[in-house]
């Protein structure tokens, strides 16, 4: 064998290898340029808001700060690998270890985590400019739009409904749903995509809203369970669920209003989003400053920017409007009332003025607060941990034409979660690892046995 010629072959390969290395290694050595000149302020934000929202608020605040305060702002968006609930846990956990969690602003994620953090004293008191505050009601439809002690404030509003593939339902010869109770109909069995409330804060809010369309907890639970048991699957986030009807994974999905509106706008001939009339309320999507923020001044300026006319316009105007977002429409109703007067007729299609929409329902904010955090675990135990058994039990119910005795078993609640006081007691247990695990695994076994009884009988 001629080793010499082989060696020269390999010489070529060494060259190619070095070329490879020359491409890849510099990547490891790149450095960010530091902007020179103006004051550079840092801002650390933790947020479940999607990237479009992050991009628009970052870009707009940068130019706003440059113009008004002569600052350059460098943004850091933290992601802890989850939605609002994961963020809340991260924050609580951080403050157990130290006085600051290194984050300035918490932005978006529904009002639940803000209430919880405020109660634990983990939010700073906000100083909101009076012109902005004058345009935001303290309460609307039963829901507080900002904290009475001003530790959080809504920046946009969220409603809930469902999105369905109208073409598909038509082909199947099924009437589309109009109300929440329709989603529980037998013909929609295994056709609905929902989200896991322990992963998605907006799903948790939607389920609470469904409960509140009924006069009491047992009938609310029965209605919610009729919908949950029609689920094909529980997605890990609300956006994934809302995409189900477009992708062809399911026919219907529960959805946050702006996810639904945006998706329906892409294929108006096939996808329909509905705010069930009289059964949806608007809830605030807040912003807050976390305790002992590293950049308090910048954080305060950012919060006030989000509530300023310039910041509010980003939510509701179409991309390309001189006052609107630069790259993509955000499709969410701003919280300030004056926005709707100023930009009447220029707002995004599909977006309506929540302050005049008559379809809203009145909500009980206190009930929401008490059930928050506990309901998630109950839904998880009843529907997600026991998905297959729940579906089989529902099938058995459908087969028996909703036999009253079986239905009563199906809808029955665990002994320890039948009153408001039960919710309060459960919330305390959920704070301690062993008690929490015993409580939730107890619920899981309870539902499992119940479903087996229905399937077996």
């Amino acid at each position: 064998m001629n080793y010499r010629s082989q060696t020269s072959d390999y010489r070529f390969q060494i060259l190619v290898f070095l070329a490879f290395a020359a491409i890849f290694v510099p990547a490891g050595c790149s450095n960010k340029n530091a902007a020179a000149g103006r004051t550079i302020k840092k801002l650390v934000i933790i947020s479940p808001h999607n990237e479009d929202i992050q991009y628009e608020f970052e870009t707009a605040f940068k130019s706003y700060a440059k113009h008004n305060f002569e600052w350059d702002v460098s943004f850091e968006w933290r992601n802890v690998g989850g939605g609002a609930s994961a963020i809340q846990q991260f924050i609580e956990n951080s403050y157990l270890q130290s006085q600051s969690c290194g984050v300035d602003v918490f932005f978006g994620g529904g009002e639940y985590p803000y209430q919880a953090l405020a109660e634990q004293g983990l939010l700073e008191k906000l100083e909101i400019e009076p012109q902005a505050l004058a345009q935001i009601p303290q309460q609307f439809g039963g829901m507080p739009f900002y904290d009475p002690d001003m530790r959080w404030i809504g920046s946009t509003l969220g409603g809930f409904g469902f999105i369905y593939n109208s073409k598909l339902l038509q082909e199947m010869g099924v009437l589309p749903p109009e109300k929440w109770e329709d989603m529980g109909r037998a013909e929609f069995f295994n056709l609905i995509l929902l989200a896991d409330p322990t992963q998605s804060g907006s799903a948790a809010a939607a389920y609470e809203m469904i409960l509140q369309t009924e006069p009491n907890w047992p009938s609310g639970w029965a209605k919610l369970l009729s919908i949950l048991s029609n689920a094909k699957r529980f997605a890990n986030n609300a956006g994934e669920a809302a995409s189900g009807p477009a992708v062809g994974e399911a026919a219907i999905a529960a959805s946050i209003d702006f996810y639904g509106i945006m998706r329906a706008a892409e294929a108006p001939d096939k996808l329909v989003y509905i705010n069930p009339s009289g059964q949806t309320g608007y809830t605030p999507d807040p912003i807050a400053i976390l305790k002992n923020p590293p950049n308090k001044d910048t954080a305060g300026k950012f919060v006030n920017f989000v509530l300023s006319p310039e910041g509010q316009a980003l939510w509701g105007l179409p991309a390309g409007h001189p006052d609107g977002p630069k790259r993509s429409s955000l499709n969410r109703p701003p919280i300030r009332k004056d926005f709707y007067d100023k930009y009447e007729g220029q707002m995004l299609k599909g977006l309506s003025n929540p302050y005049v929409a008559a379809a809203g329902m009145n909500m009980n904010a206190e009930l929401r607060r008490v059930r928050y955090g506990v309901l998630n675990h109950l839904v998880y135990a009843a529907a997600i941990a026991n998905l297959d058994l729940m579906k089989q039990a529902k099938q058995a119910l459908i087969k028996s034409n909703f036999d009253a005795a079986k239905l009563a078993i199906f809808n029955e609640l665990p002994q320890n979660i039948r009153t408001i006081d039960d919710f309060k007691a459960a919330a305390v247990k959920l704070k301690e690892p062993r008690a929490a695990e015993l409580l939730t695994s107890g619920w899981t076994s309870y539902f499992r046995e119940k479903y087996r009884k229905i399937i077996g009988s």
Partner: protein, 573 residues
């Protein structure tokens, strides 16, 4: 006397280096693992099996462990089922286009199932493309009843994607085993009157069993602990996914770490079982051919059948990724077979976003540095094991192979505990600067492939060549640079390119350990984009997937140009 001293010195250096490497592995790999496991069994600084008991008493967690096991079994069996006929055809027969098909069948290795998952629901969903097609063809009728739900809970989808990605590993191992098989055995069987089927089951299969087991054990562990595919497909009823979701929460219950302990024990157990079974038949497996092997030649009909077999497998493997490419350029795609409108908006958008560009750069950075670490440590370890044989050689060998049995998600869990806020390693944690732990995690997990590739080359390289150089007066360094390295370059490049490629595709550690946007590698960026909730979330994620695949395709093309058939060598466990 002088010679003795020299040997003594050499072994001292080798021993010191091997001890150093063992120490490094212990600190960077065993320590975090021990921490993760410890958190599951130590409560208030006391040993407690309470949480372990709760895991074993939980019907749900046990079901998830069973599902993970079942998933791994299904994927492994499916991969072996695809591999055996294809490998036998490719090894034992000659037919037109054999080299083309032989290369194309390796293609799925660079098509990450995690990316393929982005389109699987669109293709196989209950109201997806396949059923629309069947409806149009009149095979099913949607108005008469619900169409079949091919994916079901998603389990089947994960099996399909994993199988189509992993079967090349069992294929290559089976090919290698077949190539090492002495044709005299089969001929003897035939002489004694056995037909081809009896010959296959009584002679070929038992003899190639170690090779099949070797490949199968890699596939099994991979599938048992993969989180990327299941997370994108949306099948959650798996132990690894539960761990992933819990660890992401940052306030992790001891229950999760007990589950980590059980998953780790299970995968180590399965790995050892695989090794034992693979080794069981070794005494007759590694034989040299005593007669020349004459491959059978296929006629036209048989060649067509082979093309159909290979074509079906390759097409099935590529289909989800074609779906991804179409999704990347689709504008409106609701309830139609193909999109109604197309756009390059998504592909272009990816380049307008600094964060997305930086994720590609991050991936390059992590992958290149981890490859460099593997290159240096892996080469030294291979040299030590094959040439120097230090006292702790076997221990070293075992340690560098250990990452094959340790799931990425569990190593990630270990790093999460090690760098938790308030600990001394906080500064290299996911919330500060995870560059170090990501690179170490990537490097550790690919180390076995690297060491295997280079030690295989070293074993085949006659030591006499190096001795000849030394006799002619070359120094040791000169010998390594002029003789050993050039002759091993094929193995080194193959290992480097593949290590690099797999680091670019790494999911488990990336999803858990990169938590700040500026640190995201490409895979985490794809995951974040896919789950962003935006209307075009899937399109953007697919666009990123397209670039990722193009990039890897390029790397693999270069590697295969350089190495030809040796490419597959490193997947032979």
């Amino acid at each position: 006397m002088a010679i003795k001293l020299k040997i003594f010195r050499r072994s001292i250096t080798a021993n010191i280096i091997s001890v150093l490497i063992i120490a490094v592995i212990a600190v960077l790999f065993l320590y975090p693992l021990a921490l993760a496991v410890k958190t599951g069994v130590i409560e208030n600084s006391r040993i407690s099996f309470y949480w372990l008991g709760r895991v074993l008493g939980s019907e749900i967690l046990l079901r998830q462990l069973c599902n993970s096991f079942l998933l791994a079994i299904c994927t492994t069996l499916a991969a072996v089922a695809i591999s055996i006929p294809t490998a036998i055809t490719a090894t034992n027969f000659r037919f037109r286009g054999k080299s083309v098909l032989g290369t194309l069948i390796l293609l799925p290795l660079i098509l990450p199932p995690f990316v393929g998952g982005l389109s699987i629901k669109r293709l196989l969903g209950q109201f997806g493309v396949l059923n629309i097609l069947l409806d149009k063809l009149g095979i099913i009728d949607i108005s008469a009843g619900l169409p079949p739900d091919w994916l079901g809970s998603g389990f089947i989808g994960v099996v399909i994607l994993q199988t189509l990605h992993l079967f090349p590993i069992t294929y290559l191992n089976t090919c290698a085993a077949l190539a090492n098989l002495d044709p005299a055995y089969v001929q003897a069987g035939r002489n004694l009157g056995a037909g081809p089927i009896r010959n296959f089951f009584e002679i070929t299969l038992p003899l190639i069993r170690p090779g099949i087991f070797a490949g199968a054990s890699i596939v099994f562990i991979w599938s048992f602990t993969d989180i990327g595919t299941a997370a994108i497909v949306g099948y959650d009823d798996l132990a690894a996914i539960t761990i992933f979701k819990e660890i992401a929460k940052a306030d992790v219950s001891p229950l999760t770490y007990s589950l980590v302990l059980i998953l780790l024990a299970a995968s180590c157990g399965f790995y050892c079982a695989g090794r034992i079974m693979a080794g069981a038949g070794e005494y007759c497996g590694s034989t040299r051919a005593s007669v020349a092997f004459e491959p059978g030649k296929f006629g036209k009909a048989a060649t067509a059948a082979v093309w159909l077999l290979f074509g079906t497998v390759i097409f099935a493997a590529v289909l989800p990724h074609i779906g991804v490419v179409v999704t990347a350029v689709s504008d409106k795609w609701v309830r139609t077979i193909l999109p109604e409108k197309y756009t390059f908006r998504h592909l272009a958008y990816v380049f307008t976003k600094a964060e997305i560009r930086s994720s590609l750069m991050n991936s390059l950075k992590y992958a290149s540095v981890s490859t460099l670490i593997d290159l240096i440590i892996g080469s030294i370890v291979a040299w030590l094991i094959v040439r120097s044989r230090p006292v702790a050689g076997r221990l070293l060998d075992g340690l560098v192979m250990l990452p094959l049995a340790v799931p990425g998600i569990i190593l990630a869990a270990g790093y999460v505990v090690m760098t938790a806020p308030g600990t001394k390693f906080e500064t290299i944690g996911p919330l500060r600067n995870p560059f170090g732990i990501l690179v170490i995690a990537y490097a550790m997990r690919r180390m076995p492939f690297f060491v295997r590739s280079i030690s295989a080359g070293l074993m085949q390289l006659p030591e006499s060549l190096e001795e000849a150089a030394r006799n002619l007066g070359a120094s040791k360094f000169m010998t390594i640079m002029r003789i050993t390295t050039p002759l091993l370059l094929a193995n080194i490049t193959a290992a480097a390119v593949l290590t690099f490629a797999f680091a670019m595709l790494e999911v488990s550690d990336s999803l858990v350990l990169a938590q700040l946007q500026q640190d995201y590698p490409l895979t985490k960026q794809i995951y974040v984009q896919a789950t962003s909730g935006n209307t075009d979330a899937l399109n953007i994620a697919s666009a990123l997937g397209v670039y990722g695949m193009a990039f890897l395709g390029g790397a693999m093309a270069i590697a295969s140009l350089m190495l030809g058939k040796k490419l597959g060598a490193i997947f032979r466990a």
